[in-house]
């Protein structure tokens, strides 16, 4: 090693140069490493910010304030025709009964204004709630029972301390009189903060205290069911054909390019296609899970095809050769050997595709799943909405309580998604064989 380097430096001079530059180079190295760590920290920071923000806003959304009232279930007033059916109860004066017990709890306020303020205390859905209670407990008819009713959303917001007493009466949404009533009920121990049953069992409502995700959840499940029933067989069949049977020709190439292009098309465009084809051209109704599921299936198809192809490709050729060698036909080889071995990978891709479909909003807006629908859909031909669209709709409402409910709904949606993704990761780790 006595050669002189091209620049004419002797090894000694060269090593001196290196020694001179080494501190600045090491500093650069440290800087570079720091940038990398900073980038990861920023990304993780975003994640924490996002989740912390939503958890912080959403956890209170799982709870709401209830007021317990002693209601006298007067059979004559509630069930005038004495049949105990939904129809006969509909003629009953539930609101009146609740009003009476509310006035009683407040020490029978006098005057129309005072009574009106008192009525603003409880949710307007209380009559419905009492009716359900009576239907569930017909034996209590005639006695006096304590029933919990949700408080109105403004009262709820006040009880959470988000509306200050210090604000002048003109500028806040609840009056001094109402605050006095709330204090009176609180002093009697009637007001409690509990897990919101409306959130899980209530349906879409313009009243924040009664709004729930039940309809949207059922809609999501139905839509996803349609989606998986269509996308899974089609995706796997396409993957099998392209990987195992397709000849290498122009047509196969066109199909492959098509699939890659579809994977790149923005999701909202699938919604436009659904609108133009299924709703305008085929005349199918709007807002139904069937159309939503088909649109989402077409959207997730590329995801499923691409991951299924990868899984099928990962099955070593020796398996196929062995099966063919002992006399299995091509189809038998695929059905009996290749597909079962590729199944974990295929399922992983399918779950990821379904998670994508579950969180998708834009295409469903296009086909009208954004309509305000109170009833829980009972089938794939019933108008409904889905969880992400429900979140989108709630996000538009200005009431403070809706923000909390929206965040709570987001937490539920994220729980589903993270469970699905975790299941996919688990499948990939545990079941996938390395050849």
């Amino acid at each position: 090693m006595t050669d002189v380097s091209p620049k004419g430096l002797s090894p000694k001079q060269a090593s001196e140069r290196v020694a001179l530059s080494i501190t600045s180079r090491n500093r650069k190295e440290a800087r570079f490493l720091f940038l990398g760590q900073l980038a990861v920290a920023v990304a993780m920071g975003f994640l924490i910010l996002l989740f912390a923000g939503i958890l912080n806003k959403g956890m209170p959304g799982f709870f709401q304030y209830y007021v317990a009232l002693d209601v006298r279930l007067d059979a004559g007033r509630l069930d005038p025709t004495n049949q105990m059916t939904l129809e006969s109860l509909a003629g009953g004066d539930f609101d009146g009964v609740i009003r009476d017990s509310l006035y009683q709890a407040l020490g029978n306020p006098e005057g129309r204004k005072a009574k009106r303020e008192a009525r603003r205390l409880i949710s307007s859905g209380s009559g419905q709630r009492l009716m359900t209670y009576v239907l569930d407990h017909p034996e209590h008819l005639g006695s006096t029972v304590s029933v919990q009713f949700a408080v109105d959303d403004d009262v709820d917001t006040f009880l959470r301390g988000l509306i200050s007493r210090e604000i002048p009466e003109m500028d806040r949404r609840i009056s001094d009189q109402l605050i006095d009533y709330i204090d009176a009920l609180d002093a009697q121990g009637r007001i409690s903060y509990e897990i919101s049953d409306y959130l899980f069992f209530g349906s879409a409502s313009r009243d924040a205290e009664m709004a729930g995700i039940r309809g949207a959840l059922v809609g999501s499940i139905l839509t996803l069911l349609v989606c998986v029933v269509i996308a899974f067989p089609l995706g796997v069949a396409t993957a099998v054909y392209l990987e195992e049977m397709a000849p290498k020709n122009r047509l196969t190439e066109i199909i492959e390019i098509n699939i890659n292009n579809l994977a790149a098309v923005p999701s909202v465009v699938f919604g436009i296609m659904g609108l133009a084809i299924f709703i305008v051209a085929f005349g199918m109704p709007r807002s139904i899970p069937l159309v939503g599921g088909v649109v989402l299936a077409l959207m997730t198809l590329p995801t499923i095809i691409i991951s299924s192809r990868a899984a099928i490709r990962a099955v070593p050729p020796s398996i196929r050769d062995a099966a063919l060698g002992i006399g299995a036909s091509k189809i038998q080889t695929i059905m009996h050997h290749v597909l079962p071995l590729a199944m974990p990978g295929i399922l992983t891709g399918t779950i990821i595709g379904m998670a994508q479909a579950l969180g998708e909003t834009a295409p469903l807006l296009m086909i009208g799943m954004v309509a305000f629908i109170v009833d829980v859909p009972s089938g794939i031909n019933d108008p409904g909405t889905v969880l992400p669209v429900q979140i989108f709709m709630w996000a538009d409402f200005a009431e403070r309580m809706f923000i909390q409910k929206t965040s709570a709904a987001i937490i539920i949606l994220l729980t589903f998604l993270i469970t699905m993704n975790a299941a996919a990761i688990f499948l990939r780790k545990k079941l996938e064989r390395r050849w």
Binding site: R25, K28, E29, F32, G36, L38, A39, V40, V42, A43, M44, F46, L47, L50, G53, I54, P233, L234, A237, T238, Y241, M245, I254, I255, N258, A264, V265, P266, S267, V268, V269, F270, G271, I272, M273, L275, A276, I277, V280, A281, I305, S329, K330, I331, Q356, L358, G359, E360, T361, A362, L365, G368, V370, P388, F392, A395, S407, I410, L413, L417
Partner: protein
């Protein structure tokens, strides 16, 4: 029988034929001296296929064909003025009839509508009976024909496999059909739009005011509707640019750190977390942007004495950048990992530090892949809908200021198409023209990315 019940019945008949076919084959095997060509269950499947497939095909034909036929017949009831009228008049007439059929009452019913409605209901009932009879007949007849062909030497397996192969081929055509569906649905309406609005006004127009359309038609002089797409594309690219300014450095440096520096344990924690970030639905990002980031940006800007719109492009862009980070980092991670270790070893052997190896050797080698990842990220940002619908404004300002409210292509599409539409109005049709531009843009970007990878990729192995 309803459609579902009829289909279930057909499948039940097929199942029965499967059992019968399989039994016949088993009986043949034990009674006959010849060996069966195919396994018994293939014979069963063959009979089931001959029973179900033609029947389902007939059912499909009836379902698709009957409405067309009825619409044709219904013309006999149309009065002369509807027959002489244009397509819209006929569509209205058909809608009136379908209201009768659905039992929706809109008061005054013209006698001919009532007559056509009654006739339609009659036809519908007849069609149901005919469909039931025909489908069941075909399924039984097909099954019997298939059953009679079963013989020891009958090549059931080959036949079943041929049908299966055709089903597989048919499935792979769904992708092509979807593409055709997308292109046609967007193209037809776009052409109608361009018949109303000259393409050059749309492509190069600097003003977007479709909401004046109603006023213009009513002649109230509220303003002129204009359909220039430039403000929306400027808005889209402004927000995308902000997103990239956030996402490219963070995503790229994360990828470098994870691929070159991180221990397997850190990788094992950070990568799934990034995947979670990628799996968060866009509506959640939109909510976050509208509720947390936008007010924060506004108050921050105002504390510095700047005028910030409450739905600023900056807020939407920042959150979109968050959304895109995992895309860039995972794609870049893949290409960085694909650079062979020998290149790094060679660099270390020459005395370079780790960062020098990365900057001077690995990154140049991975550059085409990274550029492609960034282009894919742009295409994703351009097509992203929910964040901009929820966090960006609707005012079509032609502005490059990130603190202004801008609107984007996707948010305009959603705004126009959500709710009821009139397919005759230029406003509704403009959404389809915008969608066409959106598709062209994203596909061009993806094609571009693919070409870069193809042309500049280094093959090391």
């Amino acid at each position: 029988m309803s459609l579902t019940n009829l289909m279930l019945t057909v499948l039940m008949i097929a199942a029965l034929f499967f059992i019968a076919g399989q039994r016949l084959a088993l009986a043949l095997r034990s009674s006959s001296a010849d060996r069966l060509h195919s396994l018994p269950h293939y014979h069963g499947m063959w009979v089931a296929i001959t029973s179900a497939l033609p029947a389902l095909f007939v059912l499909l034909l009836i379902v698709i064909g009957k409405d067309l036929l009825f619409q044709f017949w219904a013309r006999d009831y149309f009065p002369q003025d509807v027959l002489d009228g244009d397509a819209v008049a006929r569509a209205i007439a058909l809608a009136k009839i379908s209201n009768i059929i659905d039992g929706i009452d809109f008061g005054e019913i013209e006698p001919w509508v009532q007559a056509a409605g009654n006739a339609w209901i009659r036809w519908e009932a007849n069609a149901t009976v005919t469909a039931n009879f025909l489908v069941l007949m075909v399924s039984i007849a097909g099954g019997l024909l298939g059953y009679r062909r079963i013989h020891t030497s009958f090549r059931s397996r080959n036949n079943v496999e041929r049908v299966l192969t055709w089903i597989l081929i048919g499935s792979s055509f769904v992708a092509i059909l979807t593409t055709i569906g997308i292109v046609l649905s967007v193209l037809f309406e776009s052409i109608r739009f361009f018949n109303l609005i000259p393409p050059q006004d749309f492509l190069f127009g600097l003003e977007w005011n479709p909401q004046f359309e109603g006023a213009e038609r009513a002649g109230s002089g509220g303003g002129t509707a204009t359909y220039g797409m430039i403000p929306m594309f400027v808005g889209t690219f402004l927000i995308s640019a902000i997103a990239l300014i956030v996402a490219v450095p963070v995503g790229l440096f994360s990828a470098i750190y994870l691929a070159e520096y991180a221990t397997p344990r850190i990788r094992g924690v950070v990568k799934p977390l990034l995947e979670i970030l990628a799996g968060v639905p866009t509506v959640v990002y939109g909510f976050f942007a509208a509720l947390t980031v936008a007010p924060f940006v506004k108050s921050l800007g105002e504390s510095m004495g700047l005028e910030v719109a409450s739905e600023s492009a900056l807020a939407a862009g920042l959150v979109m950048g968050m959304m895109i980070i995992p895309l860039i980092s995972s794609l870049s991670d893949d290409v960085i990992n694909a650079v062979p270790q020998s290149l790094r070893d060679a660099a270390y052997g020459l005395g370079s530090t780790r960062s020098e190896a990365v900057r001077l050797i690995v990154l140049p080698a991975a550059l085409p892949g990274i550029v492609a990842a960034v282009i894919l990220a742009v295409s994703r940002a351009v097509g992203e809908t929910m964040i901009v619908v929820m966090a960006a404004g609707l005012a079509a300002n032609l502005s490059f200021n990130p603190l202004d409210a801008v609107t984007t292509v996707t948010s305009q599409i959603v705004t126009i198409l959500v709710g009821d539409q009139e397919f005759e109005s230029a406003k509704t049709l403009s959404a389809f023209a915008l969608a066409l531009m959106l598709i062209v843009t994203t596909l061009a970007l993806n094609y571009f990315a693919l070409q870069i990878v193809k042309r500049y990729r280094e093959q090391y192995d």
